[in-house]
Each structure stands twice: as structure tokens, then as C-alpha cells.
């Protein structure tokens, strides 16, 4: 149990309104989008860097863990208070601090919702590309901590490619500033990039400066399906070689198509085949029209089962809603989901998908796959029945096999969700003890007392 004195000190610092310590309230901060839960001892809502610094210093004094949290929508347990302690909720730090139109940067507080920032920029003709499936409710702070990516990554990259500057409170409660708005910046180690994807283990962000682009004038979608996986694969590879490569190249396997079929409401969108791609072209209207024509021509050479293109807002929205609904709608295949977001080199995708099919057969459990073809990122969902202990064991084995194969193929354990709690025991598949020690020493440099989000990654 936590020292009552610490709660009192928080109340003195922030006021009672910004400190939660009743069981009923804490319960609402005990989970994220994984199936694990841990109760915090207290939840605090800071409003600026000074307050966060004081919070961390109090945690040091009482030797209490401190974990940052945005919307709690992560898939690796990054915001879970594994060892209890203090949850720092950033939701009340959600302002846009500066739009620098000359240099094309926007500076925000970490609690702003990705979609709110996108809307703000869009109204002014700008564009912030990273678009995790959770972008309508996840925060920018969480996105940076997990280095989130989404469909746009194939053309525009992931969160880290947009983070220019960070204001961070370290594990010693010190406020540091990393990065620069200058495009060229080689002056010491690149801490900005180190923090992007550090899963909240090195410090707490209080200010984030992001690079922005001019908004593309138009976009159109193609929905295409194939019966033969190799045909689909070769078609996609050809699209990626184009100079005007797609701004999205998502795929779904047969089982994920099934799970979201009901989301397609229009009669015009008919889904057939075993393997489906959602392809987007963006740019000026002329560029989009040209690209869509070119893509269609290429796709037709690989005998698709169905091909449908759309520039209507309603249809595009419907298609994207269906894409975003896959992950949560898998619930019907089982109440326990082992969610892996492996990434492999693109040319290894067919090998991997074949392996996944075999694994599903070997253990006789549903394995549902979809993801971002253009960046090799596959969401592998092993669906289990929580109460069936034998099945859960088989699921864990399948997970091990899949991650092992991923490493063998030269891939990554996690493309965008992070290691967190969910995959930490698999790090040894990829990294030596020596390598892991380097990571631990880096953490020590920022957080010598190991109070910032302890127990994650390693």
C-alpha cells in the first residue's frame, strides 16, 4: 500500500480535484487495451512540466513507481502500473501550443487526441500523417512513446519520422529539451529518436513538436481481392516500386475479411476472394486520377477476383471504418486475444503468411491476420478461449513459434505496439545479453532509481 503522506503531498501540489485515490476511481485506470490489469495507488493530472517534475521528485522521495498514461489504448501494456504506484494522466494537458507555419511544425501537449490535432491542421490546410487505427481516441504522447504507425506509413513513415523536439522530465525529475526545428542536426546523440518508441520508460513528455506537411488535395481508394496469395503479393510489390507509390496498402486475410463483413453496408462493395487489399492514392486530383488508373492497370495483370475503386467520401469512410473495426471485432473468435504486431521484410510476407496458416492448423486455433503490407507489419491475432487452459497453452506455444520465425526472417518483434509487458520474454530471441545490458544502461542514465514505468521491455 502507498504511503498516505504521498497522496496528501499530491493533493497539496495539485489540489484535490486533480488527484484520484478512491478504489472506484482507481479501478478505471487499472487496464488498457490488453487483457491484463494492475491497480494504481493514485492517479494525478498535471497541467505543465513544472508540476510533472515535482510529481517525479515526490515519487523519488517515496521510492514509488510512476507511469504515464494517455487514453490507455495501448496493446502492449505500456500504460499499466505493473508495480502499482502513481499513474500520471496526460488527458488534461491537451492544448495546441504553437502552429509554426513558416517552418511547418506544430507544438502540442502530450494529451491531445491524434484526431483532434489532425482536424485542427486539416482546417488550416496542413497534414500530420501517422494514423494508428486508434487515432480517433489515442493521444499524441502515447503515439510518440510507442512510435505508432498506421496505414499511412507505407508512404509517409511512422511517428518518429515527425517528432522534431521533445520536452521531457527524466527519472530524476529534471526537465530536458531534445532536438531542433533545424532539418540538419548532428550535435550529440539523437535523444529525440531514442525517446520515440521508448514506451514511457525513459521519462515523461510535457511538450512535443511535430513536423507537418501540406494537406493532399484529394485521395481515392481501391478495394481489390485475390484468390491466390502469390498473385496478390506480386501485384503489391509492383505497386510499391512506383514513384507514386500508394499512400496506403492494407491487407486482410480471409478470416479478418469475415470478421468485418457486416461493416460493409453499401450494396456496391462486394467482398470476395481470400486476400484483400485496400489501396489509397493521394495528391492533387490529377495525380490521384493518374495513379488510380495506373494501379488498376497493374492489378488487373494479376487476375484479381474483384476490383472496386471509389472516390466517394461515404464509401471511403465505410471501408476505413471496417478496416479499423477488425481488431476489436475479433472478440467473437475467443475472449482471449494474443495480439502480435510482427514486422518482416516485405519480400518475406508470403513466407510468413504461409507459416501462420500452418501454425493455425498445427495447434488447431484461429489465427487471424491483417495489417500494413507496404511496411511488412502483420497483426497476428491468436484467438483463444480464456477458460480452456489447454488451448491457452497452445496459444502461448504458437506465439513463441511465430515470434521465432519472425526473427529468423530478419523481422521485428513489434512493428508499432511496443514490447511492454506482452513481449518482454521474447527479447532474448532477437538480442544477446550484452545488447540487453546496453539498453538497461541507457535506462539507468535517465532513470537511476528505476521509478519510471518499471518492469517494461526488460
Amino acid at each position: 500500500m502507498m504511503d498516505k503522506k504521498l497522496i496528501n503531498e499530491f493533493e497539496m501540489l495539485l489540489g484535490k480535484d486533480r488527484v484520484l485515490s478512491e478504489t472506484e476511481e482507481l479501478l478505471c485506470y487499472s487496464y488498457d487495451a490488453t487483457s491484463k490489469d494492475f491497480m494504481p495507488d493514485v492517479v494525478v493530472f498535471p497541467l505543465d512540466a513544472e508540476e510533472i517534475s515535482k510529481i517525479v521528485k515526490l515519487c523519488l522521495k517515496y521510492n514509488t513507481p510512476v507511469v504515464g498514461r494517455g487514453s490507455g489504448s495501448g496493446f502492449s501494456g505500456g500504460s499499466l502500473p505493473l508495480k502499482g504506484g502513481v499513474v500520471v494522466s496526460f488527458t488534461k494537458m491537451n492544448r495546441i501550443l504553437e502552429l509554426d507555419e513558416e517552418n511547418m511544425f506544430v507544438t502540442v501537449e502530450p494529451g491531445i487526441i491524434n484526431a483532434d490535432l489532425k482536424n485542427y491542421l486539416s482546417e488550416r490546410g496542413y497534414f500530420y500523417p501517422p494514423d494508428p487505427a486508434s487515432y480517433e481516441f489515442s493521444t499524441i504522447g502515447g503515439n510518440v512513446a510507442e512510435c505508432s504507425g498506421g496505414p499511412a506509413a507505407v508512404k509517409y513513415g511512422v511517428t518518429k519520422d515527425y517528432v522534431a523536439e521533445l520536452e521531457v522530465i527524466t527519472g530524476e525529475g529534471e526537465i530536458i529539451h531534445t532536438g531542433s526545428k533545424a532539418v540538419k542536426n548532428v550535435s550529440g546523440y539523437n535523444l529525440t529518436e531514442l525517446f520515440s518508441g521508448s514506451e514511457g520508460t525513459l521519462g515523461l513528455f510535457s511538450k512535443i513538436t511535430l513536423k507537418i506537411l501540406s494537406k493532399p488535395e484529394a485521395n481515392s481508394l481501391i478495394l481489390v481481392s485475390f484468390n491466390d496469395i502469390n498473385n496478390g503479393f506480386n501485384a503489391a510489390i509492383s505497386l510499391l516500386k512506383l514513384r507514386n507509390r500508394p499512400s496506403m496498402l492494407e491487407f486482410m486475410d480471409k478470416s479478418s475479411i469475415e470478421s468485418v463483413k457486416s461493416y460493409f453496408k453499401s450494396d456496391i462493395i462486394r467482398i470476395e476472394g481470400n486476400f484483400l487489399f485496400i489501396i489509397e492514392a493521394d495528391g492533387s486530383q490529377a495525380e490521384v486520377d493518374k495513379s488510380i488508373g495506373e494501379y488498376e492497370k497493374i492489378l488487373k495483370e494479376f487476375s484479381p477476383v474483384s476490383l472496386f475503386s471509389s472516390s466517394s467520401t461515404g464509401e471511403k469512410k465505410e471501408i476505413m471504418e471496417a478496416r479499423k473495426a477488425i481488431s476489436p471485432s475479433l472478440r467473437k473468435y475467443g475472449d482471449l486475444k494474443i495480439n502480435n504486431d510482427i514486422a518482416v521484410p516485405i519480400n518475406k510476407i508470403p513466407t510468413m503468411l504461409l507459416f501462420l496458416e500452418e501454425t493455425s492448423k498445427l495447434y488447431n486455433i484461429p489465427v487471424i491476420n491483417f495489417g500494413h503490407f507496404g511496411d511488412g507489419n502483420i497483426h497476428v491475432n491468436i484467438m483463444l478461449d480464456k477458460k480452456d487452459i489447454e488451448m491457452v497453452k497452445k496459444g502461448e506455444k504458437a506465439k513463441y513459434d511465430i515470434l521465432k520465425k519472425t526473427v529468423e526472417l530478419g523481422g521485428s518483434l513489434s512493428g508499432e505496439h511496443g514490447i511492454g509487458l506482452e513481449k518482454k520474454e521474447f527479447m532474448k530471441l532477437k538480442y544477446s545479453d550484452y545488447y540487453m545490458n546496453i539498453l538497461k544502461n541507457i535506462k539507468k542514465a535517465f532513470d537511476p532509481q528505476n521509478i519510471i514505468n518499471p518492469g517494461k521491455i526488460f
Partner: protein
């Protein structure tokens, strides 16, 4: 642990919650608080924990978050796993009410007056709580919700007359009109305008005197007994009349009757068949006009003498018929209501960018006035962006919230708020003149 929540939930859809967080940004009470204790996901977790008896939870604390749910249903629409969050919360409120319902409070007194159609008592219950000295005293002796209640509005017309009509004419189409308590007691002119709009289109309208409140304020306070009594009273008021449909101009009444009536009567009860039939017969006014159009009835167009730019606030409880497909730009903007907007020459509909909630939520507005106004302020941000001359809507609750602009709009600036049906009635009249 005397106040421990001990009743068991019937609906188990909370087991389908994967706590993805998708519901957060849609929930008006979460967005206003930015505290997950006030989120759909948080409420579902509390109900689940309570049901599993995992942790001792305290009823008053759980009540705090349940009563700050507006029952707007946005989370239900967003949820990819079909968790019936509104039903779960109502069930929880029913259990909490059984534990704490005996405590006297001014809002409960007001509900009592409403149920018994004691207008004078209702008015005084709501007004009395706004007198500062009484407010101070009442906190001690008769708990009253925070802040002022909507009754501080000057335009309430408690004494206005509601148009009863219990005989039917010879027209082919015959409907019943269900007013709901607000368009009966407080804004009866909206009832008059609805009936005019119907009769002018050649429809006979039956308006029974004995109809009352739809029951939503009661079930949203966990008082299932009164809810069921009121439901049965309304069913009986329209019983045995040869009418094709029952029409209401209040979106929340339609939500209550269409969605909740069949949920809170069991299929094996004697009254179930009547309740279900009544529930299926009731349509919101916009769905009804679309239905008429489908049947080949020509709906009259009207004309406003002065061209008016408006926005339409689509109530959270307003739903279109499942097979509805927008056929005009107005229908694209606001759904079935756009069909009537199309019929009003001189009405220029401007879009609202987000369609935020108005913040009313029935008893929510009375119990959490300050929070409610915070949500209303956000609504007015998007209204101001559109800079309309008038704000239109079609729900009694939304009208209350949208009219309460003090402290939201600057100084003495006020935006007129009307029911779209009143504008339609006006356009029919002005065309003739």
C-alpha cells in the same frame, strides 16, 4: 458494508468489452471531465467488478459516475463489440436506486410531481432550489443537485394550454399524437405546431388527455416502478383507437418508447404484447413524414417570408429508420428531418462540423448542471462557427439546454432556438398569407 451494491446484473454484455478506449472520445461526460471514472469503459468496468463481487464498491461513489451518464447512446453506436452500455448503466441505476432511493432530495420530489402531473409542485420544486438561501439550506436538509436548474429560463410556459382532441375525423390517415411531458406542460406550442403540420397534410390526429410523461426521467434515475406505471398509462391512453401510427416530436420520448419500453417488460408478462405493439407503432415525426411519402402521400411545401439561415442540432436520441438512405443534400446533412427542411422554401440549412451533444441528458442537466453547461458550451462553439440566425432541433431535452445560453453567449446576445416542426408550421401559414 451496508451500502455495498448487491443486486446482480441481467445483461452480461460487459464481458464483451475489450477496453479498447474507442468510446472515450465520443462520450460527452468523459470529454468534459477527461477523467476515466466518467467514461463508458470505466462505468462498464465498475459494473463488471460489482457483478463479480471482486472488490467492495460503495454505492454513493458508483452513483456519482452512473448519474453523470447522459444516456446519449453515442458509446453504444461506437462500440465495435456491441456492448449494450446504456442498458448496463440503466440496470445499475435501478440497483443503486433500490439501495439509496429512500433518501429525500429535491430532484426526486420534482420527479414525484411530474409523475402525478402536479405542475405547480413541479414548478416550485425546481424554482425553489434556485433561491440562494434555500439552496444553502437544502444542501443540508434536502439534498439538491449542484448549480442552477434549467427552470431559470424565462420562457417556460407552465400555464399554457395543451390542445386535447379525442375525436377523430374522416380522413384516410389517422394518427395518435404523443406529446411527452415537456411538449405537454412546458412548451405546448410545439404540440400545436405538430398537430397543425399533420392536419394540414390531411391527417386526423388523436390527442388523448390521459397521456403523460414517457418515463425516461424515471428510468434514468433508476425508478423502474414509476417507469413501468407511466408506460402502461400511455399504452392505455391510446388503446383501442383506430390509428395507423403514434407520432411524437420529441426524440427522447421516441428513444424511451421505441427502445426502452420493450426492454423493461418481460416477454412472459401479460402487458408485454400491448407494450410491444405500442412501441412499434410509435414513430418520431420525421420518420413518419418519410413513411407517408413512401405511401404516396404528397407532403405540402411551405414558404418563409424571410429567408432564414439555420443549423439543425440532431438530438442524440433521434434515429432514422434502418432502411433510410439520404436522397437530398438536406437529408445528407441531418437525416430524415432533412425531408421536411426540403419542404420549407426560404430555409437555408448550414452544416455543423461535429454534431456534439447538447449536454441535457434529462435528469443529468438537473443533477450535474455545471457539467451539463460545460457540454453545452462545446456545442455552441460549433454552432458559432456556422453563424446561423436560428438553431433548430427536435427534442425537448435539447431545447432546454440550447435555450439556456446565459454565460455561454456573450452579454445579452441570444440565439433563437426552435423546433423544426414549428418552422414548418409557420411556413405553411406564411404560404397562405
Amino acid at each position: 458494508m451496508k451500502d455495498r451494491v448487491k443486486y446482480k446484473n441481467i445483461d452480461k454484455s460487459y464481458l464483451d468489452c475489450v477496453h479498447c478506449g474507442k468510446c472515450l472520445s465520443g462520450c460527452p461526460s468523459y470529454v468534459a471531465n477527461l477523467n476515466e471514472f466518467y467514461s463508458p469503459r470505466g462505468r462498464v468496468r465498475l459494473i463488471l467488478t460489482d457483478d463479480a463481487d471482486k472488490l467492495p464498491l460503495r454505492a454513493p461513489k458508483v452513483s456519482e459516475t452512473m448519474s453523470s451518464c447522459l444516456l446519449c447512446g453515442r458509446c453504444v453506436k461506437i462500440c465495435p463489440n456491441g456492448v449494450k452500455i446504456d442498458k448496463l448503466i440503466i440496470d445499475e441505476k435501478i440497483r443503486l436506486n433500490e439501495l439509496t432511493g429512500h433518501v429525500f432530495s429535491i430532484d426526486k420530489f420534482a420527479l414525484k410531481a411530474l409523475k402525478n402531473k402536479r405542475k405547480v409542485l413541479l414548478k416550485s420544486a425546481l424554482e425553489i432550489g434556485n433561491i440562494p438561501i434555500i439552496e444553502k439550506l437544502s444542501r443540508r436538509y434536502a439534498p439538491k443537485p449542484e448549480g442552477k436548474s434549467f427552470i431559470s429560463n424565462k420562457d417556460l410556459a407552465f400555464n399554457a394550454i395543451f390542445p386535447i382532441n379525442e375525436s377523430l375525423g374522416k380522413n384516410v390517415f389517422k394518427v395518435g399524437y404523443f406529446s411527452g411531458c415537456v411538449f405537454n406542460s412546458i412548451y405546448p406550442q410545439i404540440s400545436v405546431d405538430t398537430i397543425i403540420s399533420l392536419t394540414q397534410n390531411g391527417i386526423d390526429v388523436f390527442v388523448p388527455k390521459t397521456q403523460g410523461c414517457c418515463g425516461l426521467p424515471f428510468i434514468s434515475s433508476g425508478d423502474i416502478k414509476s417507469f413501468r406505471e407511466l408506460a402502461l398509462n400511455n399504452v392505455r391512453a391510446f388503446k383501442d383507437k383506430e390509428i395507423h401510427y403514434i407520432v411524437t416530436s420529441c426524440a427522447s420520448c421516441a428513444y424511451s418508447i421505441n427502445k426502452l419500453y420493450p426492454l423493461y417488460f418481460n416477454a412472459n408478462e401479460d402487458e408485454y404484447a400491448e407494450i410491444k405493439q405500442f412501441s412499434e407503432k410509435l414513430l418520431n415525426i420525421w420518420s413518419f413524414f418519410k413513411e407517408l411519402e413512401k405511401k404516396g402521400v404528397n407532403i405540402k411545401s411551405g414558404e418563409l417570408k424571410k429567408e432564414t439561415e439555420v443549423v439543425f442540432h440532431a438530438p442524440c436520441h433521434l434515429s432514422n429508420m434502418p432502411e433510410f438512405k439520404p436522397a437530398s443534400s438536406n437529408e445528407n446533412l441531418i437525416g430524415e428531418a432533412g425531408f421536411i427542411a426540403d419542404k420549407i422554401n426560404g430555409l437555408k440549412l448550414k452544416p455543423l462540423n461535429h454534431n456534439y451533444c447538447c449536454g441535457n441528458g434529462g435528469m443529468f442537466n438537473i443533477r450535474h448542471y455545471n457539467l451539463s453547461k460545460k457540454i453545452t458550451s462545446r456545442k455552441f462553439e460549433e454552432i458559432k462557427e456556422a453563424s446561423p440566425q436560428e438553431v433548430l432541433t427536435s427534442c425537448s431535452g435539447c431545447m432546454f439546454s440550447l435555450k439556456d445560453q446565459k454565460g455561454i453567449l456573450e452579454g445579452s446576445e441570444r440565439l433563437p432556438v426552435r423546433h423544426l416542426i414549428s418552422v414548418y408550421a409557420q411556413s405553411l401559414k406564411e404560404l397562405k398569407e
